[in-house]
Assembly symmetry: C2
Homo-oligomer: 466 residues x 2
């Protein structure tokens, strides 16, 4: 099959893409919010239909105790290597709603960018992968591999049912390589391949200091205030040098080696532009590391939410009896989510003052940190494809984000995961005014089709840890 | 007029009180919430009607740019001393709603206690004062004083329009003494008179760190988190000894003298019972002072609300770009609200780290600290009345709470304020399950009637500051 035939088929497969993506984004498939259960199910059905249209002969919706997942399969002759494509159709909650320029579930295209919740994470990149199958078949070149898709509906809540699902369907999902349509390139103007992702774990904690809110006139100055206690605990999670203060947090961290730091330092990073793009006044973080090192190579701890007391208009002179915080940590090799949660919980208990009660609820979503070897054959093929389609060799980067399933696939299927997404890291995922670049659609479809065509016999079961 | 005739009239005036109070409490007159504007107006009308029924010949509803106030007047022969009764018909917001055993605006009586928002602060005590006028007239003894009422609808939002109202009606409100139906006795089993109240001031501040929320995977570890900044600022408002860390906060504080501390130390205070009643695990506060000293004699700073980021079910891995806090301070002589706000704002600005933007909004409600001299003639009469009706001489106490109008009356009318409320400090005001003791109604009406009968020529214009 000539390359130009595939390029033409990819171009054809890009037709009507925006309209279909807009339909997909209009489904408010927010997995975190129970009231959107039906919408998540409708998004599953949407994905199943698209997979069938693209030419996947077997498509099934798998129920779980939470949201469903979609499985699709296209067999190849025995002995062909097996590739599993991963993605997700659920999205983050859209709040704060008042910060969106246009409604999050009424997608709009402005200057080549489509705006809407989930358009970049992960609906646009997923649809690219699906349409690539159609393009490859249209060009007359069926994939050289046994091809399966697993598209889940719980990624944004930490994939709580994915481990059981994968364990239950280990045969159907068996793969030599997983390719993820989730993730994202580092910059829009330079191709990149992400060779590592952080792990994640989190918890919510509640501080209570009294049976009910107390009047600040009657009791002020004499009783603990849950907000003060919470603020002290939160402030105590980092030290003055920006390091996480949780005892033992860094014990298992593999320090970045000189080669790694040199590679990161060689990457173009325009701090002024970064600050401007995000409306930031300064970068901050752990002393002794650059911004990229902090984001890619070092473990972090962030508060995601914090609240207590009166939030309405005006004033209410109460001493709140309860305060809440949500915390999550991004982990690097060889930290383990469970151990970090243990350390964090112990730290909070140790620092909770007398007169305050602490209640900790661990979040179900967890992931191990993950790294893919640069000399893995899939990385070699992917790099060649990106160079061919996008015109320059890719940068090799790591991501601060998490792909909760990568470690799971390594453990359960023995397969490494290659991140191959056409999202870009600046597309405001998880934030208001999330967008996706529509000029990435055609090269994205072509690259996926090329990748699926070229991956072949050199795919071997390879180790997934460095 | 014989004392037993007044006692009988007071008893008669207590009939039907609970039903009428329940009607009053059922009006959700929450001054802080715009959607209750109509309810606040209805509460004003309710008060006006009750004052007319009690025998006040002139009753007017005064409009303001905010909520209305009610004025009533019953003239006496020229030369009679003038007494102004103060109270309020607005209430605090009822949230958190899920902590109420019965709905806040569907008052219910359980074991002699009426439960509902505003029943103790200040609807029950106010209705007692109004009915006392009726009892006094029914017993054939009109007040020996020229009597006026000023009942406002903005006490719970800091009385923003009261200063203009009092200035505009200085003639009509001219008084030798103000008696407040707002306030409360220290304990249910011991009469007490409150001879001082704290001042108050407050502000809300917002910390912003970016133009929008950022994904904690992409940006975590490299950018400021508004919640971390806020927590640091809040934690930095107190030092390890429980003192307020705001530079200059204590500069104008008059330290309690030995006599004052000895008097407080002599009061019965059962710490174990206090902890039990409020579900507290410990008392805390400024080192070197007892709980009562902290609450009555020392200035305090409390967070009333704090929020930012994701508060819903589940998790959302954002780095929030904005966080908010509401702070209020209780002040003692000779602190000034404006000066403390200046100090607090300067402190926050000085400690706000690079990369974070601070926005401060001062709350409109402010009050000077206030102290009434123990040898004032009104204090003497009030003490005698309480001893006669309740059977033992009152304790003299101070309160941690604020009566924003007391200093205003001192400034504008040159009149001191006597706190004479039959609420008790443990009645969960500003909190869920606020209640009022119905067995205080009859003695309350009788005491008010006695007080209005006995106050006389010995009322002179007296200084209001110690």
């Amino acid at each position: 099959m000539a390359d130009d035939r595939l390029a033409a088929a990819a171009q054809a497969a890009a037709e009507g893409f925006a309209a279909e993506l807009a339909q997909f984004v209009a489904l408010p498939s927010v997995s975190a919010l129970p009231e959107h259960r039906g919408d998540v199910a409708r998004a599953a059905q949407f994905v199943a239909d698209r997979l069938r249209q693209a030419g996947m002969p077997e498509v099934t919706v798998w129920a779980t105790d939470g949201h469903p997942a979609v499985f699709a399969h296209r067999p190849a002759p025995p002995g062909a290597p097996r590739v599993l494509v991963y993605g997700h159709f659920d999205v983050q909650p859209p709040d704060p709603l008042d910060r969106w320029q246009t409604p999050p579930f009424a997608p709009e295209v402005r200057q080549g960018l489509m705006f809407g919740r989930g358009v970049s994470d992960d609906k646009g990149p997923l649809l690219i992968a699906i349409r690539a199958v159609g393009a490859l078949l249209a060009a007359g070149g069926p994939p050289a591999v046994d091809l399966a898709f697993l598209v889940e509906g719980e990624e944004e809540v930490g994939s709580p049912h994915l481990p059981d699902l994968v364990a239950a369907h280990r045969e159907a999902l068996a793969a030599d390589l997983v390719i993820s349509a989730d993730g994202g390139m580092w910059r829009a103007d330079l191709p990149s391949l992400t060779l590592g992702a952080k792990g994640i774990c989190g918890l919510e904690f509640t501080v209570s200091t009294a049976a009910h809110d107390l009047h600040s006139g009657r009791h002020g100055g004499g009783v603990p205030n849950a907000l003060h206690v919470l603020a002290e605990l939160v402030a105590g999670l980092h030290d003055a040098a920006g390091r996480v203060s949780v005892e033992g947090f860094y014990d298992r961290v593999v320090p970045p080696d000189t080669a790694e730091r040199r590679q990161v330092a060689s990457l173009p990073f325009d701090e002024a532009a970064y600050l401007r793009e995000n409306g930031l006044g300064a970068v901050t973080g752990e002393a002794g590391y650059s911004t990229l090192e902090r984001q890619w190579l070092r473990p972090t701890l962030d508060l995601n939410g914090m609240w207590g007391g009166f939030q309405g208009e005006g004033s209410k002179t109460v001493i709140p009896c309860e305060a809440h915080a949500k915390v999550s940590c991004r982990l690097v090799p060889d930290q383990s989510p469970e151990e970090v949660l243990d350390l964090l919980e112990r730290h909070l208990e140790r620092h909770c003052p007398p007169g305050a009660k602490l209640e900790v609820r661990r979040s179900p979503g967890r992931a191990q940190p993950y790294v893919l070897r640069r000399d893995h054959p899939a990385v070699q093929v992917a790099a060649a494809v990106l160079e061919q389609v996008l015109g320059s060799p890719p940068l090799f980067v790591r991501m601060g984000g998490t792909l909760p399933c990568a470690e799971l696939f390594a453990q359960e299927l023995g397969a490494p995961t290659l991140f191959f997404s056409f999202a870009v890291a600046d597309e405001r995922i998880h934030a208001p005014n999330e967008f996706f670049r529509l000029n990435r659609v055609a090269p994205g479809i072509r690259s996926w089709a090329e990748l699926l065509r070229r991956l072949g016999a050199d795919l071997r079961r390879e180790g997934t840890r460095r």
